[in-house]
Symmetry: C2
Subunit: 372 residues, 2 copies
C-alpha cells in the first residue's frame, strides 16, 4: 500500500474514527484503525462492536491495499506532522508502515487487516432523511436526562419514536423525563418504530454535527441497528433492547397551577441557592411559590443557609415543593426562551417545565419528599 493525501483531511477523519475506539478494547485489533486504499479513495474504519465508524477521503493512491494501525499512535503522529501532505507506505519490513511528511519520518508497527471486523453498510427499507440541526436539537434536549449507570441499560438510551406525523425523542432516568418532538418535511409517513439508541452515540453524533451549514443526515434502521450517514461519514450503532416506558403516560394530563418564571432569573437563583445544598447527596432546594414571588432556599447544618426570591406570575394555588437542584438546572440550560411555564398539582406529584414559546419540548421531574 502507498498513498499521499492532505494531512488535515486525514487528521480530521482519524479524530472522528477515534470515537469508536474503546479505552479498554475487547481485543487488541479493536485498538486499531483500519485503512483501505482503492480507486483513489481511502476508507478508514474503527469499531468497538457497539458502534462502527467509516470515513472516506480522497487520496493519491500509488499502490492499493489494507492495513490496521494503532488508533492512538496513528492519531498522535498524523496530528503532529509538519507538512501539508503526508505519504504513507508499507515497508519491506514485515508489519511496518512508513509515514513521511517534510523532514519527519515515522515507522509504525501495523496489524493484519484480515483480523479487523469490517463494517458493513446497513441495508433496510426503513430509512428517512433529517437535517443535522434538527437532529442535534432532538439529541441535546433529551440525552442529558438519561441515566449514566449501566444498572438498567434501557435508561442509558434515548427513545426515538418514529410515527406517521412526527419524530419524538425522549430520555429518562426514572426521576425526570425530557421529550422533544419535531414535525419533518419530506418524510415517509409510512414509517412506525420505537428505537432506543445509546445516549453516548447520540452525544458523539451531535458533537460531530456542529457545522454552521445544516447537512442532510440519512438514517437507516433495522430491528437491532441504526446508521447515520452524511458527507463522507457513516456511523452505525446497535440499538438497546427492552421496553422503554410510555412517555405519554408519564406526562401529567393537566395541572392545577402554572407559574410563569423568567428563565435566566430562575437559573441564577438556583445556581446560588444550591451552593449550600450541592455537597449533599440529594442536593435539595425548596421552592415556595406564592402569588407573585418564588422564594428559593436551601439548608445544610454544616455550612449554613441560602435564600433568594424572584418575581413570578402564578395562576392557581400557592405551593411549597422541593427538588434535586441539578434536575432543574439541567433542563434550564437547554431552554432558549426568556420565560418558562412551571406547572404542578401537588407537592408530591410530578411537575412540568416547558418553554413558553415551544409546545414541542416538555420536561417532567418528580419532587423529593421533605422532612417536616
Amino acid at each position: 500500500m502507498k498513498f499521499t493525501c492532505p494531512k488535515n483531511e486525514l487528521a480530521k477523519a482519524i479524530q472522528i474514527n477515534i470515537k469508536a475506539i474503546s479505552n479498554k478494547p475487547q481485543m487488541p485489533i479493536l485498538s486499531g484503525i483500519y485503512i483501505h486504499a482503492e480507486n483513489n479513495l481511502l476508507e478508514i474504519q474503527s469499531t468497538d462492536y457497539d458502534i462502527g465508524i467509516v470515513c472516506k477521503i480522497e487520496a493519491d493512491i500509488e499502490e492499493e491495499g489494507s492495513l490496521v494501525l494503532s488508533g492512538k499512535y496513528f492519531s498522535d503522529v498524523i496530528k503532529t506532522l509538519p507538512g501539508d501532505n503526508i505519504e504513507l507506505s508499507s515497508s519491506n519490513l514485515q508489519n511496518t508502515v512508513i509515514i513521511k511528511s517534510n523532514s519527519a519520518k515515522f515507522n509504525l508497527l501495523s496489524m493484519s487487516s484480515s483480523d479487523f471486523p469490517k463494517i458493513k453498510q446497513l441495508e433496510s427499507d426503513n430509512h428517512f432523511t433529517i437535517r443535522s440541526n434538527i437532529l442535534t436539537e432532538l439529541i441535546k434536549k433529551t440525552s442529558f436526562a438519561c441515566a449514566t449507570e449501566m444498572i438498567r441499560p434501557i435508561f442509558t438510551g434515548c427513545l426515538l419514536d418514529i410515527n406517521s406525523v412526527s419524530l419524538v425523542m425522549a430520555g429518562t432516568n426514572t426521576h425526570r423525563l425530557s421529550v422533544k418532538k419535531e414535525i419533518l418535511d419530506n418524510y415517509d409517513t409510512n414509517l412506525t418504530a420505537k428505537l432506543v439508541i445509546p445516549a453516548k452515540l447520540l452525544n458523539d453524533l451531535s458533537t460531530l454535527l456542529t457545522s454552521d451549514i445544516p447537512v442532510d443526515v440519512n438514517v437507516v434502521y433495522t430491528h437491532n441497528q441504526i446508521s447515520f450517514s452524511y458527507d463522507n461519514i457513516y456511523i452505525v450503532s446497535r440499538l438497546i433492547e427492552g421496553q422503554f416506558p410510555d412517555y405519554n403516560n408519564v406526562i401529567p394530563p393537566a395541572f392545577s397551577t402554572t407559574v410563569t418564571i423568567k428563565t435566566h432569573d430562575f437559573q441564577s437563583a438556583i445556581d446560588r441557592v444550591s451552593l449550600i445544598s450541592r455537597s449533599n447527596q440529594y442536593n435539595i432546594i425548596n421552592l415556595d411559590f406564592t402569588s407573585d414571588t418564588l422564594l428559593l432556599s436551601s439548608d445544610n447544618p454544616e455550612i449554613g443557609k441560602a435564600e433568594e426570591s424572584i418575581n413570578v406570575k402564578l395562576a392557581g394555588s400557592p405551593l411549597n415543593i422541593s427538588f434535586n437542584a441539578k434536575y432543574i438546572l439541567d433542563v434550564l440550560k437547554y431552554i432558549n426562551s426568556d420565560e418558562i411555564y412551571f406547572s404542578f398539582n401537588s407537592e408530591t406529584s410530578p411537575v412540568q417545565i416547558k418553554p413558553t414559546d415551544d409546545d414541542m419540548y416538555i420536561y417532567v421531574v418528580t419532587p423529593v419528599r421533605r422532612n417536616k
Copy 2:
C-alpha cells in the same frame, strides 16, 4: 461586625487568599479565611503555616470586629452573588454570618477568630525592591527545573542568591539545572544571602504578578522566612533549610563544541520524535549532530520508530548523544530567542543550553547512557 464593600474587590482578595489554604488543612481553623474589619479597612488572612497571605481592601464599616469563615464556601458564595456590592454582618445567632447582595441572602457558619493563627509582618533590615516583571522572569525560567517529589526537600525550592552585584535564581532536580541572573538598579549592594524558597510559593506568586504594568515588590527576609509585598497584598513563606548545591560548580567551565539551533525547529522536532518515546519511563531521544545537520530519533519496540533532521551550525566535533526528551522540551518553552547555543564536551558529560541573545540564562542537563 458589619460592613459593605464592592463584590469584585472582595472576590479578588478571596481568590488570592485561597492559595494559602491547603486541601488537607492540619487543623479545621486553617480551612478558614480570617476577616478583620477596622478603620474602614478589611484585612483578609489565610495560612497553612508554610505560607501566609494578607490582603487589604477598603470597606464601609458600620461595626468593627473579626471572624473566620470556611474558605471554600465564602469563596463560592461571594463569586456567585448577583449584585455589585455585598453586605456582611454577624447574626444574633451564635457563629453565624449573614451575607446579602440584591435579593440573595446567605447565612454561613463562622469559626472563632481567636483560634486563627494571625499573620505578623516580617521585621528585618534585610530588604530590597524588585520590579514584578523581573521577579516573574527569574521564577518562570528556573522553578520548572525543581523536583516535585518531597524526598529531598531542598530540591523542591529555588535558590535565591543575593550578592553585591546581582540576584540569581536557580532550580535543579539533580538531573538538570536552570540558572537565571538579573542585575538590578537601585538595590542595596550590602546584602549577601542564599535563600531556598519553596517553588510552589514562587509559582503562586508569579501567577499573581501578571499585571501588564510592572509594580514594585518589596522583599524582606530573615534566616528562616521571606515576605513579598506589593499593592495591597502581603505574602510570607518559610524558607527551606539545608545546603543548596553550588550551581557554579555544576555549569561546565568550557565546551569543545557549540551548535547553533533554531529554537522553534528544535522544539517541534523533539515534540514529534518523542511521540514514540514518551510512553517509556525515560523518554529517551537520540541526537546525532554532524556539521550541518541534527538527526533526532527515537525507538520503541512496541510502537515503532521516529526520525527527523533539522539544519544546524556546528563549531567543533560531531557527537551522538541521548536525553530525556522532557528535559530539553521544558527549557525551550522559556527561551524567547530565535536561536539557542547547544554546547557539549562528550556523550556522558553535561551539556549546556542557552539563548543566543541572553548571557544571563543558562540551562545544564545530564545526558542518559545509551544501550549499544
